[in-house]
């Protein structure tokens, strides 16, 4: 029986690692996705962790998950439901089963299903599989803790340290299931624990033990799987999360513009990793200040911008509320500034570790007065790099604050990223003063065409000037209370932002004859494209358009949205993009698909909803 094991070729597979917050599921998932990407698979990951600081061990609220989607070709989302669920304890099995396909393979650590574990996970009977209606044939029931202890008995490690290696055993098992090369795992671990070689070797030993266990006992599963890489784009790649990509985009932009990067920030989930990442890279000239509050994060960045840096502030929705007065100072001062809003569950503190797109209208309108501000929404973890780079480029070339919207889903999720080169990135030319202006420079003198003012950096002789929150005379730069001047300045600031050139909206799919156009913005890109592809596979004519540039809107917006019989706007809020588009496109009457669950869209649900619209 064992020798007859079948190896199935799959196009794609979703694996979900789950366990206690302290079980190291994120690391196991990360290694699995990196190793898969290394062999050329498409990857997309989604960490799903609890908001509890540290829920009691083994409890239902303390379960942390990490989902990895790997594919032979490109994958756009972390996947709806998983094909393999790793549940390190009873609570994980109970809470995570809903993310598994009905026929999914489940790996459990039977040592973590004792009476106390079952009680903590609120099982009524010892028959936990029966209680959850799980077919035992689908379950690899492994005494994982016992095996790890046996494996490391001679290692000299204490019990606590040994138990921390359980995740590596689970990883080994999954690697066996998917025919992953353990050498790649070993390389990763040796790199990660470069300073602690003993730990690296012990972990590698446990991974091997997990792999061997799978190999020796595989009668309990019907097949192992192989995912070949089909659509390789040659090049050099790394795995990157959205937050890291955002940080990298800002670093690259500062270097391209020849400026220091300054980040003023206050810790806030899920944006803090941007601060963490940037604070590491002082050798690239990056300055980070962990401020006393959100206001100071933005205010210090404005000061740094005034002093001549590429300035940014990173936060999430509640932080944007606090920063908004200072953001408006950057609007009236016309200073370059990037405000990164990693959206999360809201209002107020909301479900802070979950993901939503509910800050769109706040980004567009959440300030006093006429306060035009460009808004860019990143499409995916890797697109965070391009979006952050673009945001910085617009800020510096058009002397304006720019809001970059990402969200918890793409900020924490990761994907394989083809490395850019500095030469390949667009030039960034800050709109500096010219030598001819020396001696008679006024801060609100503008380029006639673009309406962009000129940037003079303190330290330059002959350009001293004052900026401020009070309305200024457009010609002299002096305080002005003249009604005509104020009206004029409001219009100029709006015109300046409206004139920023942005790329046209791209239409994917049946762009000429679609019966339905699926529209979204930002991070839902992957799910909406996947839904479109599934509908096409069912024989429908559908197209998809995703807004990355929300303000100003692409020039062809009205043309695209008016072209199709039916338009559905799908977003993770109650209709904010729909509101914005209806205000900007005459006669647009879209269908809407809205969810605010804090979880990514489920492609199957999208397909069903769009199918219903198509049938209407």
């Amino acid at each position: 029986m064992a020798e007859e094991l079948e190896i199935k070729e799959l196009d794609q597979v979703v694996v979900r690692f789950s366990g206690d917050s302290g079980d190291g599921m994120q690391l196991a998932g990360n290694i699995f996705s990196t190793v898969s990407a290394t062999v050329g698979n498409g990857i997309s990951t989604f960490p799903d962790y609890p908001a509890d600081i540290r829920a009691p061990q083994g409890s239902l609220t303390g379960v942390s998950g990490f989902q990895v989607h790997i594919g032979a070709g490109k994958v756009y989302t972390p996947g709806d439901q998983c094909d393999v669920l790793v549940a390190m304890n009873a609570a994980a099995l109970k809470t995570q089963l809903k993310y598994a396909k009905p026929q999914a393979t489940i790996i459990i650590d039977t040592d973590s299903f004792g009476p106390k574990d079952l009680e903590k996970a609120q099982f009524a009977t010892p028959d936990y599989l029966g209680e959850l209606h799980v077919d035992p044939d689908r379950v690899i029931q492994c005494p994982l803790t016992t095996m790890v202890k046996a494996c490391l008995a001679e290692s000299g490690m204490d019990n606590k340290a040994i138990l921390k290696c359980r995740n590596m055993f689970a990883l080994g098992l999954v690697c066996w299931l998917f025919n992953r090369d353990l050498n790649l795992v070993a390389n990763f671990l040796r790199e990660k624990f470069a300073k602690k070689p003993a730990i690296a070797e012990n972990n590698i030993k446990v991974v091997q033990a997990g792999y061997d266990y799978g190999h020796n006992t595989h009668s309990s599963v019907p097949a192992t799987y192989r995912i070949e890489s089909k659509t390789k784009v040659p090049g050099r790649y790394m795995d990157i999360t959205g937050n890291k990509a955002t940080a990298y985009g800002l670093i690259a932009a500062a270097e391209k513009a020849g400026l220091h990067l300054f980040l003023g920030s206050y810790p806030i989930t899920p944006a803090t990793d941007i601060l963490h990442e940037l604070s590491k890279h002082k050798s690239c000239g990056v300055i980070t200040v962990q401020c006393e509050d959100e206001i100071s994060g933005c205010a210090s960045a404005i000061g740094a911008s005034f002093a001549g840096a590429l300035a940014a502030t990173s936060t999430s929705g509640p932080g944007v509320c606090l920063k908004s007065e200072a953001m408006n100072l950057a609007v009236i001062d016309e200073l370059p500034l990037v405000i990164v809003d990693v959206q999360r569950g809201c209002p107020s503190t909301g479900p802070p570790t979950k993901s939503e797109q509910t800050d769109l209208l706040q980004a567009l309108f959440g300030r006093n007065g006429e306060s035009p501000m460009p808004v860019i929404a990143a499409l995916s973890p890797t697109d965070c790099f391009d979006a952050a780079y673009e945001a910085a480029k617009i800020a510096l070339e058009h002397l304006t604050p720019v809001i970059l919207l990402t969200d918890a889903f793409i900020a924490n999720g990761s994907a394989a990223w083809k490395l850019p080169t500095m030469e390949g990135l667009k030039a960034i030319k800050p709109h500096y003063v010219t030598p001819e202006m020396k001696g008679h420079y006024t801060p609100y003198f503008r380029d006639e065409e673009t309406k962009v003012r000129y940037w003079a950096i303190p330290g330059q002789e002959g350009y001293t000037h004052i900026l401020g929150g009070l309305e200024k005379d457009g010609k002299t730069g002096a305080i002005s209370t003249d009604p005509e001047n104020h009206d004029h300045m409001c219009r100029l600031r709006a015109e300046k932002v409206a004139k920023i050139p942005v790329p046209d909206l791209q239409v994917l799919g049946d762009k000429d004859d679609a019966d339905l156009l699926i529209v979204g913005f930002g991070s839902t890109y992957g799910h909406l494209v996947s839904a479109m592809q599934e509908l096409q596979a069912k024989g429908y004519k559908v197209a998809q358009a995703q807004f990355k540039y929300v303000n100003p809107l692409p020039k062809n917006t009205a043309e695209v949205l008016s072209k199709y019989k039916k338009v559905v706007i799908a977003e993770q809020n109650l209709g904010q993009l729909a509101t914005w588009l209806r205000a900007n496109v005459d006669g647009l009457v879209p269908y809407q698909f809205n969810q605010v669950k804090g979880q990514p869209f489920v492609v199957a649900e999208l397909v069903k909803a769009f199918e219903d619209i198509l049938k209407k």
Binding site: T34, A37, T38, G40, E191, S229, K232, V233, P234, G235, R236, Y237, M238, I240, Y248, I251, A252, E255, F262, G264, H281, K282, S283, C284, I287, V289, E292, I295, S296, A299, S300, I302, G303, A304, S305, F306, A307, G308, A309, A311, E325, A326, N328, L329, L419, T421, M422, I457, P458, G459, E461, Y463, T464, H465, I466, L467, G468, G469, L470, A478
Partner: protein, 335 residues
Amino acid sequence: MSEYTFQDYKKGQPRWCPGCGDHFFLASLHKAMAEVGVAPHNMAVISGIGCSSRLPYYVNTYAMQTIHGRAAAIATGAKVANPDLCIWQVSGDGDGLAIGGNHFIHAMRRNIDLNMILLNNRIYGLTKGQYSPTSPRGFVSKSSPYGTVEDPFRPAELCFGARGHFFARSVATDAAETQDILKAAYQHKGAAVCEILQNCVIFNDGCHESVYTKEGRKKNAIYVRHGEKLVFGENNEFGLVQEGFGLKVVKIGENGYTLDDVLVHDAHCEDNTLQLKLAMMSNENGFPIALGVIRDVDAPTYDESVHVQLDEVSKQKKYHNFAELLETNDIWEVK
């Protein structure tokens, strides 16, 4: 000798009320700027909101008049990003200690090299007469018609509590002393708070009356000078001595007290206990008001430390640009 005169730093026509203490202070600031000799284009004046925060409009340097309370935070970013700039951060008592209190204390704690001017008239003037966080208990104003029921901040106490390393005080009308403390603040590397006692002729006239004139200061103030005896009075006939846990005013030559008993001011003493005692003296408690540089202690500044760390890390790390940074990651090649 500076190559600049105060005229080089003057700009515009101030719009404050006639007699406002801000006029006096501005003139002293122009003169102090000329004396320290930093070129106008290497200076920045950054303020918040309020009467006194209009000041940057009257200075021919780089300048920002920002939003209420945030001047210290904005100045922090400017100084850290560009440490070569000489920054004067100007706030009033409402701007600096109420809405901007958080930024004020953290600028102190971090020790950003800023010259922080606190123009204290114990009232909100621009909004036409509400009590401020430095108004005394029982103060009657438009927003406290029956008197306030709260105690005020003492700026010095807040500064010391936030681990400040420089605190000086002057009266706006006392041009010579004001210029001296401004120059001392410029010389001091780190957050240097200058409290300027300033009259509001419209909404809080007479708030610093006892020391507002030269004659008044002779009786009611003491000029503290590092390394010198703490004596005061028209003929320096009074002195400060330590008694128990506090200070005491004595008449030299009476009750057995001689000049030898009088304390010598030590602005450089790390321990701020006696400096705080000096700063907290008030006429109400039978003490003279201390003017001059009360505390001036060297300490590492945040902005300099940031750049020292940038250099140190740059030496340790093998990557110094974006392309090199990319190479620090786990990279694989797809052929």
